[in-house]
């Protein structure tokens, strides 16, 4: 039995999203967790597993300020299994691990949550870097050498992609413009006003070729999911989200610079794996949610997942195929560039909303197959999701 066939996404929940408003991270987490648990037709007594990524982080305030232990204690969960770990194939590893635990019989109903306090929690602190006194692991070959920000690291892909394939700033901007358009249809999104090309092009530079609107939005908020055994599908009062395939691979250097193909990322390994695990094809996909921490990442994911050929993403965007009205609507909630950054799991939430048909004004008609893909750089993972189980 494949792990992903054992589980469904039975419940989803999301807190209010905000910037510059004092909030309590544990309260946000309880808000999203309780919503997801009730949505799954359960009570906290039924939750016997918790799976998170990255788990509690102490050296980057606001990045992940709530521990599994605090949530367990707040709801007095009776857990048979739990894990929260920083390393893994991107943010979705929390979901992969939950599937594996359910398949292995270690838990029946697993809560996954992701809480960030990156707006208020990091105010006044150096952004995007650790407060640790020295840098360890792979990061020590980027950060101390001047790659202090994730923006600079991601910019290396953008600059090289533009050099090799002629991607223009105007084409890159269509990722951000699409995000704002869709956020206009999402009452919870942080930035809902339309973005025009001139404003995009003339925004202040962050790390070339990225300007302000190429970078996602730090927020305070929480999102949660409950994964249950497949057998519970009939017990919930809305369509279950089925998991057709997981992509969780890493088959080349875990490095920003040392992969054999510089313009590939962990995403490319995971995308290949995912398509090997399902009969579904890129042409079967109705809607995609692609990690947009920086505007170049959805472009690299479109290629990794085979939605476009190598170097063809610019033309794809220019044709508007990624717009809500296009053939492959992308980041329909506004994504991290406009709804706000929930580190990949906000994108998963939106994929579930679309498949359940409750996206309101931004609903993609007849959405039955979704791909959600998160991560950028060395780590990346992806999921093919379906409306109901197949």
């Amino acid at each position: 039995v494949r792990a992903e066939e054992s589980a469904i996404i039975a419940g989803i929940g999301q807190s209010k999203l905000s910037r510059h408003v004092p909030v309590d991270p544990l309260s946000l987490t309880i808000e999203s967790a309780m919503a997801a648990i009730f949505d799954a037709g359960l009570t906290p007594n039924d939750i016997d597993g918790v799976s998170c990524q990255p788990g509690l982080i102490g050296d980057m305030p606001g990045m992940s300020p709530v521990s599994i232990g605090e949530v367990r204690d707040a709801l007095d969960l009776k857990l048979s299994w739990y894990t929260g770990a920083r390393e893994g194939p991107g943010h979705l590893v929390a979901i992969f691990n939950a599937c594996a635990a359910i398949a292995a019989g270690l838990a029946n109903n697993v809560l996954c949550f992701r809480t960030v306090l990156e707006s208020t929690g990091r105010a006044g602190l150096p952004a995007a870097v650790t407060t640790a006194s020295s840098v360890v692991g792979r990061d020590q070959y980027s950060i101390p050498l001047g790659a202090v920000s994730a923006a600079s690291r991601a910019a290396m892909f953008a600059q090289r992609y533009m050099f090799e394939y002629g991607l223009t700033r105007e084409q890159l901007g269509l990722v951000s413009i699409n995000a704002r358009r869709n956020a206009g249809l999402n009452a919870k999104a942080i930035y809902r006003d339309p973005l025009d090309l001139d404003t995009y092009l003339n925004a202040r530079q962050i790390s070339s070729p990225f300007c302000l609107y190429d970078c996602d939005v730090p927020i305070d908020g929480s999102v949660a999911f409950v994964l249950s055994r497949r057998e519970r599908t009939a017990d919930i009062d809305h369509p279950a989200v089925g998991i057709a395939a997981i992509g969780s691979a890493l088959a080349d250097a875990h490095s920003w610079t040392q992969r054999r193909e510089f313009l590939s990322m962990g995403s490319h390994d995971s995308a290949s794996m995912m398509w090997r695990r399902t009969d579904l094809k890129p042409t079967d996909v109705d809607v995609v949610q692609l990690y947009d921490g920086f505007s170049i990442f959805p472009i690299l994911w479109l290629e990794a997942l085979g939605f476009v050929g190598r170097g063809e993403a610019g033309q794809f965007l220019e044709a508007g195929h990624h717009f809500l009205s296009g053939r492959l609507p992308m980041n329909t909630s506004g994504g991290q560039l406009a709804e706000g950054r929930l580190h990949g799991l906000g994108l998963l939430h939106e994929a579930c909303v679309q498949l359940r048909g409750t996206a309101g004004e931004r609903q993609v008609p007849l959405a039955e197959v979704a791909v959600v893909a998160t991560g950028g750089g060395p780590d990346g993972g992806c999921l093919t999701l379906t409306k109901g189980i197949r």
Partner: protein, 141 residues
């Protein structure tokens, strides 16, 4: 740079395994791990060759010459110890096609930076760590 700034620079965790890389600048040399068996260059430093699994991998001085593979002008200041603007580059070293390392490009006008620019390594000592930087060959000769 003031002492305060130096203290807040983000420095690597230097161990026996990566000391040659981080302190080779004392001799003015860039040491990259190299397999003595298949002669592959390996970065970051590793005790074993991922190509042939030979364990005889040694820090080996390279030419320190390369070309800019990609770059970014860091404009927004993310950290008080890293004043902007500066040019961050990924440099492909001459020794091997997929041997690429990060480094700040010094001594060039930002407008002159482009992919393909020839550079050579330069070092900046901070607290007994020799940070790897690059200088344009055009500007420095």
């Amino acid at each position: 740079m003031s002492e305060n700034d130096a203290r807040s620079l983000l420095l690597p965790f230097v161990t026996l395994g990566n000391e040659a890389f981080w302190r080779g600048g004392r001799e003015g040399k860039l040491f990259i791990s190299r397999c003595t068996c298949c002669e592959r260059w390996i970065h970051p430093p590793s005790p074993i060759c991922p190509s042939c699994l030979a364990a005889d991998v040694r820090p080996t001085a390279c030419s320190g010459l390369g070309t800019i593979w990609s770059f970014s002008v860091a404009a927004h200041q993310f950290h008080p110890a890293y004043p902007t603007p500066y040019v961050l580059a990924v440099v492909r070293l001459d020794e091997q096609d997929d041997l690429r390392i990060f480094g700040v490009l010094r001594g060039s006008s930002i407008d002159d930076v482009r992919i393909g620019l020839r550079v050579r390594v330069n070092f900046r000592e901070v607290s007994n760590v020799f940070l790897i930087e690059f200088l344009s060959e055009v500007m420095s000769t």
